[in-house]
């Protein structure tokens, strides 16, 4: 049993390997988490650069900087990069770093597959971004890739399809790993209802992922065959229906937007109790609310399609089902507020981002309720009101929670405190600019400005100018964020193991930074 003996020794004695190959071949959940987070930051900057191009062109009416085709490529790829390259990998990175520690496990359950989940992504995004240099440019039909428009794209089309397939494979493997880790790697005594809420929300998110990413794969495969293999899935002349694509896409798409927000709920539920110095209010109701939201996410998809000519019964069903989501979401918001109620609160940067999250995500939630009203949606559909809505839930929601998580756990990951003054500056610059950026878009949308256009009527000029100025300021603030992260990794005041006075949970019992292998023997759970 020579092999077995060798493996045995290496398992106990090794630290990180040396050099670049450490990162390519690593099976360590902390290394892979770091890779995911840095990749997400890079994609956030690339997608952000595209957003800057969009806001630059929209700074004033008329065509100034880019041609309309390129503008549409920008909006399309901005969305794909931010969703699949920015927010999702950032959450998977956080899951990789924190889940095994939070449940007292030695690592992710399937470490080699974990490595592959990550290492597919750089290739997938290289493939997606390479389409900019092909005949016909990058896909320009919007991230929702509706046929027949998307089928009219250039040579980039099949590359985009396969890039989406690869991202899906990565996500499904990542999700399976999360599920297996949570079900099988918990320390003895870590019962399901003792798990931190970040673990719970990721557990539910992982189920959403394995349920809907394959559906997206099916949808884009049908697009591919409709263009290249003569099929008629989305062609009415052959008996198909372009609206069928929208149904399948949004059956994926609506759970997908909850994939982008449920882990955020978990992060905020970890941070607010720490800085309110009170346990989370209504832990079990949080678990049930998250589960309810996940369930409802599967039966609301057609609220994205109110104007395509659904039967009346469909309009009504999807309208009421959508409004139901406000109930569990309201439970969460009230729980966060109740957690803060009469707490001895302090306002370090992670807390600021979390409170910002609660307030601004709720604004996005309310505009979502407005959109859920089918007759009203006939007015709002495909306008800047929708753009404002989903940027409130995704930027001041999902991205803010990621920022909060970064500030909250960076001292744990690196062993160094970030600069609190700079963190606060980052928060306030971001929060002011993001509202200047997105709040006017509500008014633009209500006044009738359509989304995905490079030019507009002059009556929209002023709000667009404000929005663009806010956009540039928000973009610069995130460059500042990169600088803060860089400085923290480089050095700084040493963090204690506990880091935050009110922090509770297994991650704070480890040193800062934690050892390369944590909990090789399971911790005692109180």
């Amino acid at each position: 049993m020579a092999t077995a003996t060798a493996t045995h020794e290496e398992h106990h004695d090794h630290g990180p390997a040396k050099g670049l190959m450490r990162w390519v071949t690593t099976t360590n959940h902390k290394d892979i988490g770091t890779l995911y987070l840095l990749f997400a930051l890079l994609m956030f900057m690339i997608g952000g650069a595209m957003a800057m191009v969009i806001r630059l062109e929209l700074f004033q009416p008329g065509l100034q900087f880019v041609d309309p085709g390129f503008f549409n490529q920008m909006t399309t790829v901005h969305a794909l990069v931010m969703i699949f390259g920015g927010v999702m990998p950032a959450f998977v990175g956080l899951a990789n770093w924190m889940l095994p520690i939070m449940i007292g496990g030695p690592d992710m359950a399937l470490p080699r597959m974990n490595n592959w989940s990550f290492w597919i992504l750089p290739f997938a995004f290289a493939m997606l971004l390479s389409t900019f240099f092909m005949d016909g440019g990058a896909p320009a039909g919007g991230w929702t890739i509706y046929p027949p428009l998307v089928l009219q794209g250039g040579n980039g089309f099949p590359f985009m399809i396969f890039a989406i397939h690869m991202m899906g494979i990565s996500s499904v493997m990542g999700a399976i790993n999360v599920i297996v880790t949570i079900l099988n790697m918990r320390a003895p005594g870590m019962t399901l209802m003792k798990m931190p809420l970040f673990v719970w929300t990721w557990f539910i998110t992982a189920y959403l992922l394995i349920a809907v990413m394959p559906v997206l794969a099916g949808a884009v495969t049908m697009l591919l065959t409709d263009r290249f293999f003569d099929t008629s899935f989305f062609n009415a002349a052959g008996g198909g229906d372009p609206v069928l694509f929208q149904h399948i896409f949004w059956f994926f798409g609506h759970p997908e937007v909850y994939i982008l927000i449920l882990p955020a709920f978990g992060i905020v539920s970890a941070i607010i109790p720490t800085f309110a110095r009170k346990p989370l209010f209504g832990y079990s109701s949080m678990v049930y609310a998250t589960s309810s939201i996940a369930f409802l996410s599967f039966i609301v998809w057609a609220h994205h399609m109110f104007t395509v000519g659904l039967p009346l019964e469909g309009e009504l069903f999807f309208m009421y089902a959508t409004m139901l989501i406000a109930v569990p979401t309201g439970v969460k918001v009230f729980n966060w507020i109740s957690t803060m109620w009469k707490g001895s609160m302090t306002f370090e940067t992670p807390m600021l981002f979390s409170i910002g999250f609660v307030i601004m995500f709720t604004i996005g939630g309310f505009s979502g309720l407005m959109l859920a009203i089918a007759p009203a949606d006939f007015q709002y559909h495909d306008t800047y009101f929708v753009v404002a809505h989903f940027h409130y839930v995704l930027v001041t929601g999902a991205v803010y929670s990621i920022m909060a998580a970064a500030y909250y756990w960076l001292p744990k990951w690196t062993g160094n405190m970030y600069n609190e003054t700079m963190g606060k500056w980052h928060f306030w610059l971001s929060t002011i600019s993001v509202n200047v950026l997105f709040f006017p878009q509500h008014f633009l949308g209500l006044a009738g400005m359509p989304r995905r256009i490079p030019d507009y009527s002059v009556q929209f000029a002023e709000f667009n100018m404000w929005s663009s100025l806010g956009g540039f300021a928000f973009g610069l603030s995130q460059v500042f964020f990169c600088y803060i992260v860089y400085k923290t990794i480089q050095g700084g005041e040493k963090a204690t193991d506990q880091v935050w006075e009110g922090a509770d949970g297994l991650e704070w019992e480890l040193s800062s930074p934690p050892p390369y292998h944590s909990f090789t023997t399971p911790p005692k759970i109180k």
Binding site: T27, W116, G238
Partner: protein, 287 residues
């Protein structure tokens, strides 16, 4: 190696990066080929070879670790939970195509024929179109064709797959009762039935293309027919290859009555393709 208290974490993995390169070349090459690029075929071939190399290497390592006793109860549980949810993700992949079929049959074709909210579409676009299934649409895309009958090869294939579900269970009984001969012969029969299914499916496709003029381009009937049965056939092929590997390992003396995750994983996968086939037989061929 794991013990009851420690979990086996391999210390490094070179196969994932090989897999990523292989997948990128394979899919990138395929995309290039679809665009009509001349070099693309070669890139695709290289990608395929790299992918196959990765599969041999990765599974080879895992098999070696398994045989050397690196995996204990905890690792076994991880593999099992992982496989179950992987199969679930595959179910959802097929759900997308079944959903498309149901939507087309229940909504879009009747609407094209003027039912419910389709009245205006019918009147102004294709007022002579009659909504009957199967259909290649109001413009008869792909021309005249005949329906694939359920009662020729498809029903034989149904029997073959159902029988293979029995034989794989017989093999499992042999394995847990330590009757290696029963294991090997029943498993060999399963693999043979699997490949016979794939061959008959190919014969059926030939019949469709040459005799019935039923192609992928035969409107939405041809699209759903070939897409659903094609992806199923691909999954049968993958499942049969998995079972063949398990067969070779059984002949080599791998697996014990208690320790045989790979066998069960392949068997679960086999039952999954079996159940999908029943859905296909009912909704694609029969009804």
């Amino acid at each position: 190696m794991s013990t009851d208290n420690t979990y086996y974490v391999p210390h490094s993995a070179k196969w994932p990066i090989v897999g990523s390169i292989g997948m990128t070349l394979l899919l990138g090459g395929f995309a290039g080929q679809l665009n009509g690029s001349s070099m693309a075929d070669n890139i695709m071939l290289v990608g395929l070879l790299v992918t196959i190399y990765m599969l041999f290497g990765w599974f080879g390592d895992v098999i070696e670790e398994s045989e050397s006793g690196a995996y204990n109860k905890a690792e076994d549980a991880s593999f099992r939970i992982g496989m179950v949810w992987f199969i679930f993700s595959e179910v959802m992949f097929f759900a997308a195509f079944f959903g498309a079929l149901y939507y087309i049959r229940v909504f879009s074709v009747p609407w094209l024929g003027g039912a419910d909210s389709g009245a205006a579409t019918h009147e102004f676009l294709w007022n002579s179109y009659e909504a009957i299934w199967p259909t290649n649409g109001p413009e008869a895309i792909g021309g005249e064709y005949q329906k694939m009958s359920a009662w020729g090869l498809p029903s034989i294939n149904t029997l073959i797959l159902l029988t293979s579900g029995v034989t794989v269970t017989v093999a499992h009984w042999g394995l847990v009762a330590n009757k290696r001969k029963q294991l090997i012969w029943a498993l060999a029969a399963t693999v043979a039935l699997g490949f016979i299914f794939v061959v008959l499916q190919a014969v059926e496709y030939g019949h469709g293309y040459h005799d019935l003029n039923l192609t992928m381009g035969s409107g939405v009937y041809g699209s759903t027919f070939y897409m659903l049965t094609g992806f199923h056939g691909f999954h049968v092929t993958v499942g049969a290859i998995m079972l063949a590997v398990v067969l070779v390992r059984s002949i080599k003396g791998h697996f014990t009555a208690e320790h045989h995750f790979a066998f069960e994983a392949a068997a679960w996968y086999w039952h999954f393709v079996d159940v999908v086939w029943l859905g296909l037989f009912i909704f694609v061929y029969w009804l």
